[in-house]
């Protein structure tokens, strides 16, 4: 088990009074809470801070934590021999094999005594619903389009039937429902942490994060594709072939098109839930001028410049 120095994390002395601990937490929560802070690593930092506060604000947990001893952060350690008797709950006694159990999981209730009497665990006395798990799933645009099955690794600390705590890793396969898009959440009932004493299992919540695509950008259920055209194609109009998630389509570029102009290709975006129409694909025109011109091209451009009376900066006069 790796040691975490909760006092150091909150920046307080080991004998700090509760009021100081509360103050320190509030300041750090405001600074690192992921809903408020966009700093890199804020989420992990906040998790640390919240854990530290959870343990140190509760006199019982704080006492249990203090009695574990004092080590270097990250150092492997195990609680002193009599720690389990004094602070562990009946049924959770096997601390010789803490392995890679998380310190916070141990302190936050899986290992701690419920009630000073340390009553026997049995039947309905220890009935508790399982934890909800939240994970992030990274999916590609094609996965969303097809409603692909994705494998998600889940790692958690659980209590085995014999009372030992253990770290378990399992893979769960989830089918992405049609209509899901970036930033949305999925819920898989009953696939969270196991309940105890017959309590129901928790749920699994999955946040969908989209992997960047070479060509397409995603906004809701719409796709955006940058389509480069030459100046003469924009001026004269043309038909171009553009890729979609399901093969190529012909796109008509009207004469006199401008840079940044959006051309809508209906129904070629991401599918929407149920029977709703799919999103659209927007081609965004970019006009590219060749950087190297042949002498003939240069001559033709000069002739065009002379022949044209078009003034795009008339409004500057």
């Amino acid at each position: 088990m790796k040691y975490k120095d909760y006092y150091e994390i909150l920046g307080v002395a080991r004998d700090a009074p509760e009021a100081d601990i509360k103050k320190a937490y509030r300041k750090l929560a405001r600074k690192y809470h992921p809903d408020v802070s966009k700093e890199k690593g804020a989420e992990e930092k906040f998790k640390e801070v919240a854990e530290a506060y959870e343990v140190l604000k509760d006199p019982e947990k704080r006492a249990a934590y203090d009695q574990m001893g004092f080590y270097q952060p990250g150092q492997d350690f195990r609680p002193p021999p009599d720690w389990g008797e004094r602070f562990g709950s009946a049924g959770v006694h096997a601390f010789e094999d803490v392995g890679d159990i998380d310190l916070f999981d141990l302190l936050s209730g899986l290992g701690l005594g419920r009630g000073a009497t340390g009553g026997r665990r049995g039947g309905t006395e220890f009935h508790m619903p399982g934890q909800d798990y939240e994970v992030t799933m990274h999916a590609g645009i094609e996965d969303l389009n097809r409603g692909a099955e994705v494998e998600i690794p889940l790692s958690a600390t659980e209590m085995a039937p014999d009372g030992r705590l253990r770290r378990s890793t399992r893979n769960i396969r989830v089918r992405i429902p049609k209509g899901a898009t970036a930033g949305q959440r999925l819920r898989v009932p009953g696939k969270g942490g196991a309940g105890m004493g017959g309590g129901p299992a928790g749920d699994l919540y999955i946040n969908i994060q989209l992997r960047p695509h070479d060509l397409f950008k995603v906004s809701g259920h719409d796709l955006y594709l940058e389509v480069p055209v030459t100046p003469w194609e924009a001026a004269l109009g043309t038909t171009v072939e553009v890729p979609t998630l399901e093969g190529k389509v012909s796109l008509k570029v009207p004469p006199g098109s401008r840079a940044g102009q959006k051309l809508r290709v209906r129904g070629k975006g991401l599918p929407r839930p149920k029977a709703a129409e799919p999103g659209d694909l927007y081609a965004v025109l970019q006009i590219v001028t060749p950087s190297v011109l042949s002498e003939r091209e240069r001559e033709l451009y000069r002739q065009l410049a002379e022949a044209s009376s078009f003034n795009p900066r008339a409004h500057f006069e």
Binding site: P177, G183, R187, K217, D222, Y282, V284
Partner: protein, 105 residues
């Protein structure tokens, strides 16, 4: 089919009852009633037993519950924070959409 886990999208379907919302969010029934009064949730239906929430309320509710405990907020504070966070999400979606229209990004 047996290897698959059926995942449901937390979106607009109006089929979550009050008790299920409480269970999924960790909020008590009283807290949810309060948040309905503050406009955080807008269920359809007249009496509480008829209330149906969209499954998106599960996401909102879990967020409200987390914020309330992370920042030790009361109900009006929680309602305000959730409203502001929704506004931020709207703005971020708009920024994302505008970025999609930018050339050469």
């Amino acid at each position: 089919m047996s290897a698959e886990r059926i995942a449901s999208l937390l979106g607009e379907q109006l089929d979550i009852e009050l008790d299920e919302l409480a269970g999924a969010t960790g909020l008590s029934v009283e807290e949810i009633v309060e948040l309905v009064e503050y406009g955080v949730f807008e269920p359809v239906g007249g009496a509480r037993v008829e209330w149906r929430f969209s499954s998106r309320c599960i996401t909102l509710g879990r967020r409200a519950s987390r914020l309330r405990s992370d920042f030790e907020l009361d109900a009006p504070g929680t309602a305000l924070v959730v409203a502001l966070l929704e506004r931020i999400e709207e703005l971020e979606a708009e920024v994302n959409r505008l970025r999609c229209e930018l050339l050469g990004d």
